[in-house]
């Protein structure tokens, strides 16, 4: 008998994290104009996917998970995040 779960019931643990690369859903991607980023972090707060990361001196999206919703670009007070169409 082959089992998938080590548990008796329908339980799960973050030790086995669900890793869906939701970046594949994306039809457009955010590109931060690095030099223009004010590091205000508003995109970090508002990114629904929780995928904004801080680099040396700017914020940018983790494109493995970014679904391309455009909220970061929308809330950016510096207009430093461009939405670029993904080419297939």
């Amino acid at each position: 008998m082959k089992f998938m779960s080590k548990f008796e019931g329908p339980w799960s643990t973050p030790k086995e994290p669900l890793d869906i690369k939701t970046g594949e859903w994306r039809s457009q991607r955010p590109v931060t104009k690095r030099e223009k980023c004010r590091q205000c972090g508003w995109c970090f707060i508002f990114c629904p996917a929780g995928c904004i990361e801080e680099k040396a001196h700017y914020f940018t999206a983790d494109l493995d998970y970014c679904k391309g919703c455009g909220v970061c670009s929308n809330v950016c007070p510096a207009k430093a995040i461009m939405m670029i169409r993904e080419e297939i």
Partner: protein, 436 residues
């Protein structure tokens, strides 16, 4: 972890024609510091109907800094402000020549460059703008309360769903010592993970729609018996909180269980495909309140659940939206501080698909809901009602309804009725704040 500099945000297209209050104030403030100029400019091109303001972007890689031949421009690592060392400034004007965003001015008469220094952290323009078009965005004061996000990346919620933003916000504030409770609904996808894979780093329970408050009770009480204080937080939709799960919610409130119950209200059964719930608004389109033939959306007004919860006289009840994060944060902190009873937070959470608006516009929708008093932000704290965000000049409800396809079929008559409901409800809250 993150830097998070305070930053000015200037709203677009809301400067009143001819206004120059921000510039005048800035000039005045700078003059008091012995400087001559304004760091903010408002502009009017009447022919084009352009009324706007512009100021320094405080770039992270300032080209003005790179182009300054005397090294007199610096970016402060602590507050991110790009400043000019006046003593060293040559007055050559190169900074003005290279800045693409018009953020730095060169004054030929004084041979000095001049720019916004954010008043070193408390910009005066923010206070004087008559239309509240300038705001200081202070993420640091919010993220200062953040813990590591217990929710992993890669949730299968819809692209851009504000409920996910809200849940992350809540969980970041709540931190790791939290038990999270959910019920079947959109957030399920986030809380549960799939199969044997999990996507949350805190203990979480996927309950039935009818058992969330009671399950929380069980956990809270068991840990209380063990002498441990744990946070039990529910994040459920309006179907669970206000319809089929309302009885247990009311029961837990009556027992005054020490739990934090949050309803993200997307005004319908969205995970099953947009059916009406008791919080679907008057006139709102859903698949079970269609707008076709003899029907014009929902016939009756929504159930005013936060007010009903306040009537339980639990220690804390609030309405909140992610669009006003400072307000939301304060409410979360208040709810967390309650140790002797229940807190209930009712969150308006627009549904892109179910309400019909463009994906990134959630915050605009949320703000319009607040600015029209459709969803007033208030709290009930131990007997006292308080409006936490006063809207000075509430906009007509059409400013909200026009954003949403679910109201697209409404005609004047229905709009008037909806406006009447909004007014009545706001007045009720207003009077409660005055009476209690």
């Amino acid at each position: 972890m993150e830097t998070f500099f305070d930053t000015l945000k200037i709203e677009e297209n809301i400067c009143p024609p001819g206004c120059g209050v921000c510039r005048e104030k800035c000039t005045q403030v700078q003059r008091s510091k012995g400087k001559n100029g304004s760091g903010i400019h408002e502009f009017h091109i009447p022919d084009l109907g352009v009324h706007m303001a512009n100021t320094c972007n405080q770039c992270s890689e300032p080209v003005c800094l790179d182009a300054c031949p005397s090294g007199s421009i610096s970016k402060d690592e602590k507050d991110g402000i790009v400043r000019i060392d006046e003593k060293r400034c040559l007055g050559c004007g190169l900074c003005n020549l290279v800045c693409p965003y018009g953020g730095i001015d060169y004054r030929a008469d004084e041979k000095k460059a001049f720019k916004c220094d954010l008043c070193d952290g408390s910009p005066e323009c923010v206070n004087v703008c008559p239309v509240k078009g300038i705001s200081l965005m202070k993420a640091r004061s919010i993220v200062g309360y953040f813990h590591e996000d217990p929710l992993l990346k890669g949730s299968s919620l819809c692209v851009g769903c504000p409920a996910e933003t809200t849940l992350r916000f809540v969980l970041r504030v709540m931190g790791k010592d939290t038990f999270l409770f959910g019920a079947p609904g959109c957030a399920t996808n986030v809380i549960n993970g799939q199969g044997i894979k999990c996507m949350i780093n805190i203990p979480s329970h996927m309950s039935n729609m009818t058992t969330v408050p009671s399950t929380m009770t069980g956990v809270k009480r068991y840990y209380r018996r063990l002498g441990k204080d744990v946070k039990c937080v529910a994040f459920v939709g309006d179907g669970c909180a206000t319809d089929v799960g309302f009885q247990p919610l009311s029961g837990a409130a009556e027992r005054n269980e020490n739990i934090i119950f949050m309803c993200y209200d997307n005004e319908g059964y969205m995970n099953t495909g947009i059916q009406r719930s008791s919080t679907t608004p008057y006139g709102g389109w859903t698949t079970t309140t269609p707008a076709m033939g003899r029907r014009k959306g929902k016939k009756m007004a929504s159930k005013n659940v936060p007010l009903i919860m306040a009537a339980h006289e639990i220690p804390y009840v609030a309405t909140a939206v992610i669009g006003y994060p400072e307000d939301f944060l304060n409410k979360l902190l208040k709810a967390m501080a309650v140790k002797d009873g229940m807190s209930y937070i009712h969150i308006l959470s627009p549904c892109i698909l179910g309400w019909g608006y463009s994906i990134p516009a959630s915050l605009e929708v949320i703000k319009a809901a607040v600015e029209t008093n459709y969803f007033p932000l208030w709290e009930y704290e131990r007997g006292k009602y308080r409006i936490t965000y006063e809207v000075k000049n509430p906009k007509p409800i059409t400013e909200y309804t026009k954003l949403l396809k679910k109201f697209a079929h409404l005609e004047k008559e229905e709009i008037d009725e909806l406006q009447e409901i909004v007014n009545r409800r706001f007045n009720r809250i207003k009077r409660l704040t005055e009476a209690f």
